[in-house]
């Protein structure tokens, strides 16, 4: 079985290096094909591992080699494949395989085709390292690895010029990439502190050792570690207030958005919370904060999605919102439900993004849904895929989203946190509204794109076929809820609804369903027949507030970036120039004067130098000969 672990882990690396070989050359089709095949092999290996883990009920733990050994710190290059990591692996490799195949079609006309595959595969490798590592150090390496790949991929079209925020809220891909990177570094600092705290108190970074040691630690330490780790998770999963980068990250190519900023990387935060669940279970106050923050982000993001006009940003906000759901579940202790929602969400959100990519491709990179409409004629299959994905997202039975999201809402009810429950239910309605607003504005109604002279066309056949697994899974994933529960709870704490909630399950489900259907119906009424703009609403306070993302980006720019730049300037002028540079200059000056006085030896004639060298050798020899005589 070890063999499969290595195949699953290293096939993406091989793919990345292979594609990297051709990074500077013009597009080569076989690069994409081979990368996809390698990713597919990784998926197959993951699936085999999953089957194996399910069969034996125990994880596989392999140690490749000793990695760091300094003093007491011993970190092996070890990988663990247990129920949690294997389910992540399957999700990651499946989605990334589809995205790779999709990218062959999507990046068809891009001149950096090969480079793209190199980055994409490198990302998958980093993600797998993150997921499979058996210690916090490996997790951190993967964590940073996905950060780098995300930076590379968001800024993939780095050559696009900067524009003002009025034209494009994220200014330019390179700006967006840098923003994502920097915001993540802030969060990573928290995570690093968390890891340090754990190492300081436990003396190891291995999961099993750390978790076994937890009961012996002081409560304050645990809370500090949990908070610090969660800050890291917040950054990667774009939770409030570090959420701004995710929507800007939509500047990257759409497959990237699908793979990284919807299905896999952003869920790393959730994964971290699930992975470190022993820690979070022992710190209920932090867990409750997580749940509250998750719920807040769910409605906060959903509200912004209501008014956005950008196709990909709407989906990005919905991703934020769904991440909030996951954190809510994880914070409430229903780890397996969070993981289940994570998996299900990965399928339909990736599908949604890739469908959006199809639309973009058809609309020549036009993203404004107000300029679309009536695309269903031209893009029937994309419509079906996006419709299915939106239904799943809205939580309409029997699709995947219903089972996973309903479980979370039920959990909130079950825990007795009725405020959270209420917010989540309302959010479910908002979710249904904005996702179908987007679908209807894009595919139904009058064909507004015609006035822009665009002739949309359907994506390549093989791309549509490649999307089929995601579509199928978005439909049927919910039926495996019980199986999944049984599988994962071998490792994670089981969470069952209480008797009371169980009785009310039908009613609760119905309430959610009413909200969801209501949202869809509202969307149909408002947008089903075409776009009717309401000037009054658009100029209203709430609409503007939502449209400007609660003015948070502006706030950051004014109250964080600007003061920071001012402080930096002061330090540059007073400290750096006056003290540091002066010291360095003095040293240089000394050397310069010394050199100036001895430069006469430098005749520029090589044989002179050689003679000097000979003299030096003889002097050294004399020294060597005399030394033993002196004793």
């Amino acid at each position: 079985m070890e063999k499969f672990v290595y195949i699953a882990l290293f096939a993406p690396l091989v793919s990345s290096l292979f594609a990297g070989l051709f990074g500077m050359t013009p597009k080569k089709m076989f690069v994409g094909v081979i990368a996809s095949l390698l990713l597919a092999s990784s998926f197959v290996a993951s699936a085999i591992l999953a089957y194996h883990v399910n069969l034996t009920g125990s994880g596989i733990h392999v140690t490749l080699m000793d990695w760091i050994g300094a003093g007491d710190l011993k970190i092996p290059f070890g990988f663990i494949v247990d129920q949690v990591s294997v389910s992540m692996m399957v999700v990651v490799t499946l989605v990334s395989t589809v995205v790779h195949i999709y990218s062959i079609g999507y990046m068809d006309h891009d001149k950096s085709f090969n480079r793209f595959f190199s980055y994409l595969s490198a990302f998958v490798f980093s993600m797998l390292v993150l997921v499979m590592s058996d210690n916090f150090a490996g997790l951190f390496i993967g964590w940073e690895g996905v950060g780098v790949c995300s930076w590379l991929l968001i800024g993939f079209w780095y050559h696009k010029p900067d524009v003002s925020p009025e034209i494009n809220p994220s200014i330019s891909p390179s700006w967006a990439a840098n923003e994502a990177f920097i915001v993540n570094r802030i969060a990573d600092l928290g995570m690093l502190i968390g890891i340090f705290i754990l190492y300081w108190n436990v003396g190891s970074l291995q999961y099993d050792v750390v978790f076994a040691e937890l009961p012996n630690l002081a409560n304050g330490v645990l809370v500090a570690a949990a908070i610090a780790l969660f800050i890291g998770a917040m950054g990667k999963s774009a939770q409030f207030p570090l959420h701004t980068w995710l929507t800007d990250a939509m500047e990257g190519p759409t497959p990237v958005s699908a793979l990284i900023h919807a299905a896999t990387m952003v869920t790393a935060g959730v994964f971290l919370v699930i992975r470190a669940h022993p820690l979070f279970m022992m710190t209920p106050e932090v867990s409750y904060f997580i749940a509250s923050l998750g719920t807040f982000v769910a409605i906060f993001a959903a509200s912004m999605a209501l008014v956005n006009r950008d196709l990909k940003r709407i989906i990005a906000y919905s991703t934020l919102s769904q991440l909030g759901y996951m954190f809510a579940a994880a914070g409430l202790g229903a780890y397996w439900i969070a993981l289940f929602h994570l998996a299900a969400h990965a399928f339909f959100k990736a599908l949604l993004f890739l469908g959006a990519g199809n639309v973009m491709h058809a609309m020549h990179d036009e993203l404004d849904i107000f300029k679309m409409g009536g695309l269903k004629k031209a893009m029937r299959w994309t419509y079906i895929y996006m419709g299915v994905a939106s239904l799943a997202l809205a939580g309409i039975p029997p699709l995947a989203g219903f089972f996973s999201k309903d479980a979370i809402i039920e959990t909130a009810f079950n825990e007795g946190t009725f405020i959270l429950w209420a917010i989540l239910v309302v959010t479910a309605g908002m979710t249904a509204f904005y996702s179908f607003r987007q679908v209807f504005l894009t595919f139904e109604g009058d064909e507004r794109y015609k006035e822009f002279g665009i002739h949309p066309h359907e994506m390549y056949k093989f791309v549509l076929i490649a999307l089929a697994p995601l579509g199928i899974l978005a439909v049927i994933a919910g039926f495996f809820q019980k199986t999944f529960q049984g599988f994962v709870t071998d490792l994670l704490p089981n969470y069952e609804m209480s008797e009371h909630t169980h009785h009310l399950a039908m009613i609760l489900g119905a309430v959610v369903l009413v909200f969801a259907v209501g949202g869809i119906a509202l969307a149909w009424i408002k947008y089903g027949k075409g776009l009717k703009r309401n000037e009054k609403v658009e100029n209203g306070f709430f609409y503007k507030l939502l449209k400007n993302q609660y003015y948070i980006p502006q706030f950051y720019a004014e109250f964080i970036s600007k003061p920071y730049a001012m402080i930096s300037e002061i330090f540059w002028k007073s400290v750096d120039m006056k003290i540091v540079d002066a010291t360095v200059d003095a040293i240089a000056k000394t050397i310069h004067t010394t050199g100036d006085s001895t430069r006469k030896m430098q005749t520029g004639n090589l044989s002179n130098y050689l003679n000097w060298m000979g003299v030096g050798v003889v002097i050294l020899l004399i020294a060597a000969a005399i030394t033993p005589m002196l004793g």
């Binding site: 430069r599 430098q602 005749t603 520029g604 004639n605 090589l606 044989s607 050689l610 003679n611 000979g614």
Partner: protein, 100 residues
């Protein structure tokens, strides 16, 4: 009986010959020859020490010296040819372009 000292003295003599060559030669190609003499002298010393102490480390170093000589000749000759094309001479005294 031939001992380690014999070999070391031979090596020392050869090294001195190489040094004389390095100091005396003005033609770059001949200078290279002289450095090869010095490298070979070192090789003899290494091999002799290896033999008389029954330790293979000396031979290893000799191997690496051979490898160094091989790469030196590849790069050095390339440079010489470029130089000759540019300057039309290999004389050391004519190469004073770096004089500041």
């Amino acid at each position: 009986m031939i001992g380690l000292n014999h070999y070391l003295i031979l090596s020392g003599l050869l090294f001195s010959i190489g040094l004389v060559g390095v100091l005396r030669r003005k033609n770059l190609l001949m200078l290279f020859f002289a450095t090869e003499v010095m490298l070979n002298a070192a090789n003899i010393a290494f091999a002799a020490a290896s033999h008389f102490y029954g330790d293979l480390t000396g031979q290893m170093f000799a191997f690496f010296i051979v490898a160094v000589a091989a790469s030196e000749v590849a790069v050095g000759l390339g440079l010489l040819i470029v130089l000759y094309k540019k300057q039309g001479t290999l004389d050391l005294d004519d190469l004073a372009t770096m004089k500041g």
